[in-house]
């Protein structure tokens, strides 16, 4: 069902790389926004998972990043761009189980090589652009059920 909003809603959050203590705060705020707007529960869960995976990638790999969103009556668009090392081989990074995360990150429960696949699995449209040495941009769209 289309959302009962008069105009699109936009917002953004800063993400600080390496800060595991507040990891998930940006995704949590976006989730609260979707709950407030009465978005379908399944869409909220998929959006929250996709966003949280992207946020964690910024925290694990990048110096900093930004999460921005656009909510329209029929879909939500989420973008995460970062100042990180970039992804050398996107096709390889999309393989389930492939990870370049160091051991200390794995010990914290991350780096299973499921981040990008989970983002794709939980979104209707998924796009990743990356330049080695500059950063990565993830764009995801989730449609609201009719």
């Amino acid at each position: 069902m289309a959302l009962d909003i008069d105009h699109p809603i936009e917002g953004s959050f800063q993400i600080i790389g390496g800060n595991f203590d507040t990891a998930g705060a940006a995704s949590s705020q976006l989730k609260s926004k979707l709950v407030e707007l009465n978005v379908n529960e399944d869409v909220i869960r998929h959006a929250a998972i996709a966003t949280f995976e992207a946020e964690m990638n910024v925290i694990i790999y990048a110096a900093a990043g930004r999460l921005s969103y656009l909510i329209t009556p029929t879909y939500i668009e989420i973008k995460i761009d970062d100042m990180g090392p970039g992804i050398k081989d996107i096709e390889q990074a999309m393989q389930e189980g492939y990870s370049t995360a160091p051991e200390w990150v794995r010990a914290m429960g991350w780096g299973a090589g499921m981040g990008l696949p989970n983002m794709k699995k939980n979104s209707d449209e998924f796009k990743v652009d990356s330049v080695v040495g500059e950063g990565t941009l993830i764009e995801m769209t989730l449609n609201f059920p009719e």
């Binding site: 595991f20 990891a23 998930g24 995704s27 949590s28 995976e53 429960g109 991350w110 696949p117 989970n118």
Partner: protein, 116 residues
């Protein structure tokens, strides 16, 4: 299955005070890698884990997990307990290892989050 029944089956102690012990749990998953938890996500589910990092609570919040059981008597620190309280996520601690905790609940009829 209620959280009360889960707690009894696993000889578990309840870590946070305001826990809704009659909460209904419909499925469970066992993992220490948070992306695996999110891969198998399901609404109204239970997470069985040995990981006590704060991101466990964030993962639960995103993945539709209603309660968490820490195995091997693990107890999270105060920050994690506080965050769980803010998100209304009950925390339990069982002396069982992950294999035994999972097997005990499976035998009692608790289905997997993954559905197979």
């Amino acid at each position: 299955m209620t959280l009360k029944e889960i707690s009894r089956l696993l000889n578990a102690s309840v870590i946070n005070d305001s826990t809704d012990i009659e909460m209904d749990i419909q499925s469970a998953c066992s993992a220490d890698m948070m992306s695996t938890v999110m891969y198998y996500h399901s609404a109204n589910s239970l997470l069985i884990t040995s990981l006590t990092q704060p991101s466990v609570i964030r993962t639960a919040e995103m993945a539709g997990i209603k309660a968490i059981v820490f195995v091997l008597n693990k107890k999270p620190d105060a920050n994690l307990i506080e965050l769980a309280g803010l998100k209304n996520i009950p925390l339990l601690s069982t002396p069982f290892c992950m294999y035994t905790a999972s097997g005990t609940l499976f035998e009692a009829g608790m289905p997997s989050c993954f559905g197979k």
